[in-house]
Symmetry: C2
Subunit: 243 residues, 2 copies
């Protein structure tokens, strides 16, 4: 079923009108009066709606049923990724959204080559949030994951550590597997922290341990910085019983 | 440790000489006499070597130890992917190699938009195999996964069905999870079959069932055709105890 995202305030009444990009999209899809569509508030709530009228670039809908989105994962996974080069972050935002991530958080690390300045950051965040919105729509999610940036490595650790499972992946860790970390106790929220192209420095790994993160391996092969978070996210979703 | 791939025949004697691309790569890395490197036969065997001499664009090595590569997964996973558009197959070849796939097999399906003709296929296969070789080297693998093409959908099913677990992923399957399929019995080999951009047709899914494949879900979100095989591969590696 076709899915539109609107501001939660628009879902307050008994009906709503799709405008702007949503109306254009409806036109492309040639939606007709009587057809049913899903309208999501982007925060996990959705409404089953019926097209009432369609004219002058606006689509009038009647709300049939309000419900919770059924496509959101029960486990909340936060993907913490050190700023990578160029378009890799965009790739991870798109894929992590498809795979059901709760949020995607970029942070600076010692070996990051790319670090957007304050000025370009606002524009970039807008662009990243749009990528997440588009991927959420395509994958049929009811919630758009938030894309955030934290200003320091220490702040990223502090925030990541608040999850039930706060995990860092490091290629020189061989003893603790992701499975050990996940199976030791039940969890509802997980943070997955991975390094930049050049990897994390040993002192950064120590800093993470001190902040309460558990350092794990993702196997004996070296994964690229854009592969590691998606591999870990897929495995956590599997381990949490999503598929 | 630096890793070079050579033809297995070159590892027959007590020493060997790196030439061509390998020698160029050694030069870039400024390898010195006395340094240790790994030379892999690309089929899971590797030799720990020491640089003896380095001159005139060739590197002479002494073999110190012959062993099995320690970075190969115990489980053999074959990734069967319906031909996708453009560069998506290249993406999957690179990532699946990093993630430890045993082989990557492309096949035609009803809704495939792209289907390389016989003539362009040979060149493409060479290019794809190079991508796998490069990803194997970078991720520290001892084996280069083979990239193959099968001529028909029926042949793909027949080959995929030979694995201990032969699994197809389909967005309209909701009852059987990947976990159910994997946990029902022990396995040493797994095939993961996924569809093209437009998805698999219902009759193709039936055909797969009849050929002995088990049809599973990868969760309630719709994954893009390049995301599904990598998500499934990551989960299988996790389930098989790789990390």
């Amino acid at each position: 079923m076709t899915r539109f995202f609107v501001d939660p305030s628009e879902l307050a009444g008994a009906g709503l009108t799709l405008t702007g990009e949503n109306a254009k999209h409806a036109k492309v899809l040639r939606l007709k009066a009587g057809e049913e569509v899903l309208v999501c508030d982007g925060a996990g709530g959705e409404c089953l709606c019926r097209v009432v009228d369609y004219a002058d670039g606006a689509v009038e809908l009647e709300i049939l049923e309000r419900r919770e989105a059924s496509t959101e994962a029960a486990v909340r996974v936060s993907v913490y990724m050190a700023f990578p080069k160029a378009d890799k972050l965009e790739h991870v935002i798109q894929k992590a959204t498809e795979l059901g991530a709760y949020e995607i958080v970029a942070f600076p690390a010692a070996r990051c080559v790319s670090r957007p300045d304050e000025k370009s950051l606002k524009k970039k965040l807008e662009r990243w949030q749009k990528i997440a919105a588009s991927a959420a729509e395509q994958s049929g999610r009811g919630r758009i994951p938030e894309v955030r940036v934290v200003a320091s490595y220490a702040a990223a650790l502090e925030q990541a550590a608040r999850c039930d499972k706060a995990l860092m992946f490091y290629e020189n860790e061989h003893a603790t597997t992701l499975r050990m970390a996940l199976e030791s106790s039940p969890f509802e929220s997980v943070s997955l922290l991975t390094g930049p192209e050049g990897g994390l420095e040993e002192r950064e790994v120590e800093q993470a341990r001190n902040a309460g993160l558990q350092v794990c391996t993702l196997g004996s092969r070296i994964l690229r910085c854009e592969t590691a978070p998606l591999c870990a996210l897929s495995a956590v979703m599997y381990a949490a019983g999503e598929f």
